[in-house]
């Protein structure tokens, strides 16, 4: 009985030690943290906007914003979806690369590149508040 109780105590002690290393909790954050994270996100959105209006993204001077002002008609909330022209389910990033190759006569971006994440962040940000509708055509 004593043995068992001391065993439970030891487990509790180990758990307590585990969640309190040097006083910082995993899910504890402050208003200042939120502000900083929002700032980090918005700086990527702003970089995405810079790329969106850039004449340098492709090779012919055409910018994303020429056909998609405010990233309208990109429908980020509908991806992934069956892109009927490609005959398979694709992500929004695949369509960005399609546009880079075709109307912009440029080269594809790496799917995990800083530029691709920024373009995606901008398009999603302009579509904020719209209900998710994956698969919708």
């Amino acid at each position: 009985m004593w043995k068992r109780a001391s065993g439970i105590c030891a487990v509790i002690l180990i758990l307590a030690a585990g969640i309190l290393p040097s006083g910082v909790g995993a899910d504890e954050f402050t208003e200042a943290d939120l502000e900083r994270w929002e700032g980090e996100f918005m700086s990527v959105v702003e970089y995405g906007r810079e790329l969106w209006v850039s004449a340098e993204l492709g090779t012919n001077g055409v910018a994303c914003a020429q056909c998609h002002p405010n990233a309208a008609n990109t429908h980020p909330e509908t991806y992934p979806k069956f892109q009927q022209q490609l005959g398979r389910v694709v992500a929004l990033r695949d369509m960005f690369n399609w546009c880079l190759l075709n109307p912009l006569e440029g080269a594809e971006l790496e799917l995990d590149s800083r530029e691709m994440v920024a373009l995606e962040a901008y398009a999603y940000y302009e579509r904020r508040g719209v209900e998710l509708a994956p698969g919708k055509h």
Partner: protein, 360 residues
């Protein structure tokens, strides 16, 4: 056979077969519509928003070139022939001589008298100087078979923005060229031109049909993308006294139509690329005319989809726009004398609309 001759024959053959293929696709809807007093009827073609875009040296964006070349070629094949052609503005993308010259060269292949409207992409580099050398005055009027036409330069804006804000002309052009650029400025006809318009219209009898041709809509739809004219109400007030007034405008790269009092509004398509309907931008309110049945959502995999040009029948002083849409069923938006407003001949009723017209 020497190789050069062989090549030339092949090129001629391709040219000839291209013309046949085009003629083969010309829709039968181009036959002129019949009106009560047919002696007053006429037809003109309307091409707009070509956005010829210079890359460098002698290269231009192929996609936009093809749009204009196709509209010109198809217009030349029209039978019966149109009385004249209007070009609705934005021949160039960034207003350079290279772009205006290249656009003018493509337009020079038209077999018909062509009149031009100023667009913001033609204007804000040199304030229309080179454009005027090529095409003449920036606002003017003329009469044709009993209809009074007025062409306005409706893409002017506040003097401070035009003259004092930007360090270079090139930057001014770039700032105005971005449709969604918050540094842009609202379009307007301006006091001086409105005065000219009032004087011009004073000489016209109130039962004469008046057609105003402008680049911007002369109504307020969405300010964020300049689907807007700042002094729209003042211009409309000059048109309301006429029994039949019609405003034809470009800029919006999509089908729109509306009726405000006595004034009928019709937009024309771009040859370059389509634009989303303002409702597709979730962060701002817009005021698309309720009457408008949208064009189909663009399919980017068809390069010319949701672009095109139009043939306009004028019968008894009202316009009937026959949209020549490259990858969709052609549409006709005509003034309905019974309801007193412009209506689509096929899709106007709610239950006649098709899923691709659902824009979101």
């Amino acid at each position: 056979m020497p190789e050069s001759l062989n090549r030339m024959n092949r090129r001629d053959f391709l040219k000839a077969s291209g013309a046949i293929a085009l003629a083969g696709t010309l829709p039968v809807s181009m036959v002129e519509l019949a009106f009560a007093d047919s002696s007053k009827n006429f037809t003109f073609a309307y091409i707009s928003d070509a956005h010829i875009q210079h890359i460098s040296g002698n290269s231009f964006v192929r996609n936009w070139d093809r749009g204009l070349i196709r509209a010109v070629a198809e217009t030349n094949l029209l039978d019966p022939k149109p009385d004249f052609v209007m070009f609705g503005g934005d021949l160039a993308q960034l207003g350079s001589k290279a772009e205006l010259d290249h656009g003018a060269e493509i337009m020079s292949k038209l077999n018909f008298k062509t009149r031009y409207v100023m667009g913001e992409h033609d204007y804000y580099l040199d304030l229309g100087e080179y454009w005027s050398e090529l095409f003449g005055p920036q606002h003017y009027s003329f009469d044709h078979k009993g209809v009074h036409f007025v062409v306005l330069n409706s893409i002017l804006t506040y003097d401070e923005w035009t003259f004092d804000r930007w360090p270079t002309a090139k930057q001014r052009m770039l700032e105005m060229a971005g449709l969604d650029n918050p540094n842009g400025s609202p379009f307007m006809v301006g006091e001086e031109q409105r005065k000219w318009l009032a004087d011009d219209l004073a000489k016209v009898k109130k039962d004469t049909p008046v057609f105003v041709v402008s680049h911007s809509p002369i109504q307020k739809i969405y300010k964020g993308w300049n689907f807007w004219t700042e002094d729209a109400e003042q211009v409309q007030a000059l048109l309301q006294p006429f029994d039949k007034a019609t405003v034809l405008y470009g800029h919006v790269h999509q089908i729109q139509y509306n009726q405000i009092g006595n004034i009928t509004f019709n937009s024309v398509m771009a040859t370059a690329w389509p634009w989303p309907y303002p409702r597709s931008y979730a962060q701002a309110e817009s005021h698309m005319p309720k009457l408008t049945v949208p064009m189909n959502r663009a399919d980017p995999f068809f390069e010319r989809d949701a672009t095109g040009w139009q043939l306009i029948d004028v019968g008894t002083g009202r316009a009937s726009l026959r949209y020549q849409l490259y990858n969709n069923t052609n549409r006709t938006v005509a003034f309905n004398t019974t309801t007193g407003q412009p209506e689509d001949s096929m899709y106007q009723a709610e239950d006649k609309r098709v899923p691709p017209q659902n824009q979101y």
